[in-house]
Amino acid sequence: MAGASGERGRTGGKPSEDGSTLGMKIEQLSAFYGDFKALTDVSMDIQANKVTALIGPSGCGKSTYIRCLNRMHEVIPGAHAEGHVRLGDEDIYDKSMDPVKIRRRIGMVFQKPNPFSKSIYENVAWGARINGYKGDMAELVERSLKQAALWEEVKDRLKASGLGLSGGQQQRLCIARTLAVEPEVILMDEPASALDPVSTQKIEDTMEQLKQSYTVVIVTHNMQQAARISDYTGFFYIENMGDPGRLWEFDETEKMFSNPDRKETEDYVTGRFG
């Protein structure tokens, strides 16, 4: 499909230059809900230490796709995926792969903040603890909260309930929780859509820092957000009602928002859709 794979910087699946962060390579991925094919033949290279944004109209498969990237999709009864999703050199859909371990390595932050009904400290420590973390937990909690740009706001009340935080703080707590299990990739499904503009800005600033150490994939309905924070953008589209969604165009964000190749992409980013 013209433009759907992008032509620049094809290092998907390969680690960053210092070997510390992995990218992902998706090949011919299709997703099903029972017999219904929701997504078809998506191939994409997700570069290490970059933010990749996924945009497109409602119902075109973006959230389905991102859930396939850490095998959350199959948690839904009757749902399954076909194709290959490689984290580095490993195919996460290989029969030998443990989905639970995959979800630790490829973490997810959801649209609605969902902290545990525990203290701020425990929200961050709990996941690391059950994954067998044996190091200095207090140091891990502090590091994770700093990476999520929340430490300064909560350092004096770590025993307070996570539910007592504001929406934006709760979302950053969820990010810290994801970071504490030391993932390689962070998936975010509309992480700021439920937040006020100030919190949104803080989340976006956080993402800018996160990509220094992680690979980030974000679904967003906010095109200005995608233009601001992402390095690469993928546009998902359904050609006819009832068709499965597909990746229509994928390229560097600068190109997607200044001179996309496909008319449907340009109609969408300029708000002429519909």
């Binding site: 095109m223 200005q224 233009a227 928002f257 200044s258 001179n259 996309p260 340009e266 980013v269 300029t270 708000g271 002429r272 859709f273 519909g274």
Partner: protein, 230 residues
């Protein structure tokens, strides 16, 4: 259609730019006629247009900035605003240069002239008018196939420029014209060459608007692509 209001604002902006272009063309037309007919009175009618064109250019600039702030344009909308500002700048500069030439025509109305040099000036003026009109028409119609000829026409202007400068440096025996006129003629040659360049640049900006190719090489890339396809 979604974003109807925004589209109407874009259409209105474009209309403003084209209106300004039409007025500058009118000034240019009068300047050429004044030069052809040695009609200082006609040239004098265009004195003062510069101030008006600059004011309108500033209004268009401000409208572009407001649209960018309010509407966060991307892709073709962003290229349109960017091009509208660039084209407006070319139009305003062309208007200023045309007024400078009209000033020179008025100030030297009674001066003796070198007829060879005067003929060269008239030919340059007609060519500059044609290129300006062509560039503006390409922007109006978005017909970028016509842009490829602009470069060749611009080369002709450069040749005329060289010939005129040669005539200035080497006046005809016995009829060099008044020194003041020769001095103003040298400036007019330079202004006409710039007006022609502005027309070519407007065409180049339109190629960028339509194709999204980088501005510096938009026209050359477009021409090269067509040549490869042939």
């Amino acid at each position: 259609m979604p974003r109807e209001t925004f589209q109407q604002e874009l259409d209105a902006l474009l209309s403003e730019v084209l209106d300004l272009g039409g007025e500058v063309e009118g000034t240019l037309e009068n300047m050429v006629q004044a030069m052809e007919e040695r009609d200082a009175a006609l040239a004098e009618k265009e004195l003062g247009v510069d101030v008006r064109y600059k004011a309108r250019g500033a209004e268009i600039d401000e409208e572009c900035m407001i649209l960018q702030a309010r509407q966060a344009p991307v892709a073709r909308d962003l290229r349109l605003l960017y091009t509208a500002q660039a084209v407006t700048n070319h139009l305003v500069r062309s208007g200023t240069l045309t007024e400078h030439i009209c000033h020179a025509l008025v100030d030297t109305a009674e001066c003796e002239r070198d007829e060879d040099l005067e003929a060269a000036l008239v030919e340059m003026a007609r060519t500059a008018r044609r290129l300006f009109h062509e560039g503006l028409d390409i922007f109006r119609s978005r017909d970028i196939d016509r842009a490829r000829n602009l470069q060749a026409e611009d080369d002709k202007v450069d040749l005329l420029y060289s010939e005129a400068m040669n005539l200035i440096a080497n006046p005809s025996d016995g009829n060099a014209g008044a020194p003041e006129w020769r001095m103003r003629a040298a400036l007019m040659v330079h202004y006409l060459e710039r007006i022609a360049d502005h027309g070519v640049d407007i065409g180049g900006r339109t190629v960028f608007l339509v194709t999204g190719e980088r501005i510096e090489s938009a026209m050359q890339q477009y021409i090269n692509r067509d040549l490869r396809e042939e």
